[in-house]
C-alpha cells in the first residue's frame, strides 16, 4: 500500500506530469511501464463515488458484473472513518456468556473461516425528485464484495452463549461508538465477523480491521470497526434503532427492527447520464434481495404495460447482487423502461405508489420502488421522479 507508484499513471502523479503528456503516439513503438508492486487504474477512467460528509455513493451505472471494486464501495458512517491499528485492536464478547473473552485480530483469523459474495445496502438508500439523476444518485448506497471472516456462531460457541441470550449489542470503535441491537438468532444463522473484503483486508471505509457482516440486513446493523459484542435478553434501544433506521407506517405507527433489505432492482444501462442510439440495446441492471435469492427480473420497455423476463447472470447467489440483462430493439420512439425483481419468498418489487399506499406518506427507510427511466427520442435517458408521473 505504501509502495512507490510504478506505472505511467503513478509516475505522472508523482512527478506532476499531466497524464495526457504520457500517452505515446504509438504504444507499439515504445516499451511500456515495467511490472510493479501494486497495479493502477487507468488515468482515462474517471469512475468515482459521490461523497457527502456522511456517505459516499457507488457509481452503479459504471459497474460491470457483480463485484464492486473495494475503493468504490459505498460509504456511510456517523463520525468519519477511524484509523485503527490492527495489532492493538481487540474484540470483547461478554454479557450472557459462560466465559467473557477478548480476541485479537490475529486470534479471529485462526478460527475456521468462511467467504461469501453478498451485497451491503444502507436502508436509507433512496433519492428521487429530479430527472437528471443517475443510478448512483438514486440508490448508490449499495455495493457488493466477497466477505471473509469467522462465523459469529463459532465465536458464540467459543464464549458459550447462554440459552437466555436473545439479543446482542454490537459496538464499533469509531468516534460514533456505533451500536445496534441484533437478535441472537441472526448470530447463529449467518452472521460473520469479517476481516476480508474482495480477497484482501477490509478497507478502512468498510470497517478495517474487523466488522460485523449480517447478510441481507440493512447496512447499519453490520457494525464496522467492531470492538465489542454484549449478549443480553432485550434490545438496547440505541439511537440508531429508534430515532434513526425506523420508519413511519400506516396509522401513525413507527416500525423498528426492520432488518431485511426488501428486494430491489434497477436498470443501470441505459440510465442517466447515458445517451443511446436506436437499434439493439442490451438493458442491464442489478437486482437483489435481503431475504434470499433473486428468482426473476422482469423488464418493461413500454412504461409498465408489458413485462419480459430478463436473463440472470450466473452465479445467482443468496442475498447478493445479481446482474440481469435484457436484449431489446429500440425503434427510437419515446418510451419508459423499468425493471422489477421477484425474490424466492415471492415478494415482487413494488411501485412508489404501492409503497406509499401501504405505509403512508411519512415513511423513509426501506424504500425500494421500481425505478422508471424515460427514454427520449434523442436518446437521452432521464429518471422519472414521482412528481413527474
Amino acid at each position: 500500500a505504501m509502495a512507490i507508484a510504478q506505472t505511467a499513471h503513478g509516475k505522472a502523479v508523482q512527478e506532476g506530469l499531466s497524464f495526457t503528456e504520457l500517452i505515446p503516439d504509438d504504444p507499439t513503438k515504445q516499451v511500456g511501464t515495467l511490472a510493479g508492486e501494486v497495479g493502477t487504474r487507468s488515468g482515462f477512467e474517471k469512475v468515482i463515488k459521490k461523497p457527502s460528509d456522511i456517505s459516499s455513493r457507488s457509481p452503479l451505472q459504471d459497474f460491470y458484473g457483480i463485484i464492486t471494486p473495494s475503493d468504490l464501495h459505498f460509504e456511510r458512517h456517523h463520525a468519519g472513518i477511524p484509523v485503527i491499528d490492527p495489532n492493538k485492536h481487540e474484540l470483547v464478547i461478554h454479557g450472557l456468556v459462560d466465559k467473557p473473552m477478548v480476541f485479537t485480530v490475529a486470534d479471529l483469523k485462526r478460527f475456521p473461516s468462511v467467504s461469501r459474495i453478498a451485497f451491503l445496502e444502507c436502508s436509507g438508500n433512496f433519492r428521487t425528485g429530479k430527472e437528471a439523476m443517475s443510478p448512483q444518485d438514486i440508490c448508490g448506497l449499495t455495493s457488493q464484495s466477497e466477505w471473509t471472516g469467522v462465523k459469529l456462531s463459532t465465536l458464540f460457541r467459543e464464549v458459550g452463549v447462554k440459552p437466555n441470550a436473545s439479543w446482542f449489542l454490537a459496538e464499533g470503535g469509531d468516534a460514533a461508538i456505533m451500536t445496534r441491537s441484533i437478535p441472537v438468532k441472526k448470530g447463529w444463522d449467518d452472521a460473520i465477523i469479517a476481516y476480508g473484503q474482495n480477497g484482501e483486508a477490509l478497507r478502512p471505509e468498510q470497517g478495517y480491521p474487523v466488522r460485523l457482516f449480517l447478510p441481507g440486513w440493512e447496512g447499519n446493523t453490520s457494525i464496522k470497526w467492531l470492538r465489542r459484542l454484549e449478549l443480553g435478553d432485550a434490545p438496547w434501544q440505541t439511537r440508531e434503532e429508534t430515532s434513526k433506521y425506523s420508519e413511519g407506517i400506516k396509522g401513525g405507527k413507527i416500525r423498528q427492527f426492520s432488518f431485511d433489505i426488501d428486494a430491489r432492482s434497477i436498470i443501470t444501462f441505459p440510465a442517466f447520464p447515458a445517451q443511446v442510439e436506436k437499434g439493439w440495446i442490451e438493458i442491464r441492471g442489478l437486482a437483489w434481495s435481503g431475504r434470499g435469492k433473486v428468482v426473476k427480473v422482469e423488464v418493461s420497455t413500454d412504461a409498465g404495460k408489458s413485462w419480459h423476463i430478463a436473463e440472470l447472470q450466473e452465479p445467482v447467489l443468496d442475498k447478493a447482487h445479481v446482474r440481469f440483462r435484457y436484449l431489446w430493439h429500440w425503434n427510437g420512439a419515446e418510451t419508459e423502461i423499468m425493471s422489477r425483481v421477484t425474490d424466492e419468498t415471492g415478494y415482487i418489487q413494488p411501485t412508489f405508489k404501492q409503497l406509499i399506499e401501504a405505509r403512508g406518506a411519512d415513511s423513509g427507510y426501506h424504500f425500494n420502488p421500481i425505478t422508471a427511466w424515460q427514454l427520449k427520442a434523442d436518446g437521452r435517458v432521464l429518471n422519472k421522479p414521482e412528481n413527474v408521473r
Binding site: T179, A234, W236, R239, I254
Partner: protein, 165 residues
Amino acid sequence: YLIKSDSIPARFGFGRVATSTEIARLDIDIRPDGKGLPAGEGKPVAGKVIFAQKCAACHGVGGVGGPNGSLVTTTDPTKKRPEKTIGNYWPYATTIFDYIRRAMPFSEPGSLTDAEVYNLTAYLLNANGIIDDKAVVNAKTLPNVVMPAQQLFVPDDRKGGPEIK
C-alpha cells in the same frame, strides 16, 4: 460451508478470558431498564447552561433549529410535518444518556463527564415537556420516564412473500 461434525472441537482455545476491569472500561451501554447507568444525577437548569455552551451551535438555541437538527419538539406551521425530535420520536429516555455520552458533542466525542450527560439529559427531557423543571434525573428515575413516542413503536412483522407493507 460445513465443518464435518466429528472434527469440530467444543472450543478452539483462541483468545483469552476478559477481565472484569477491561469489560468495565468498554461496557458503556445503557439499557431501557437503566442497566448501565452510572452514579450521579442531573437537573434541567444545570443542563441548560451546558447545552448553550457545547450544543446549541449545532442544535439551535434551546435545542430548536441549528445546522444539525432540532432536539426539541416545536410546532412550526410552515412545515408539512413536525421535525422528528426527542419529544415526538424517541421511545426511551435512556437512549438520550447513552447516545450523548458515546457520541456528542460531535466534534469532541467522549469529552463529557457523567454528571454533564445527566444534566443534558434532564435538560432535553424538560425542554421537550416530558419532565418538569425541578425533576432529578439519575439511575433510578431515568428508566421510569415514559416517552411520548414509545406507544408508537412496533417491531417489523413482515415475513417476506407477496405482501407490500
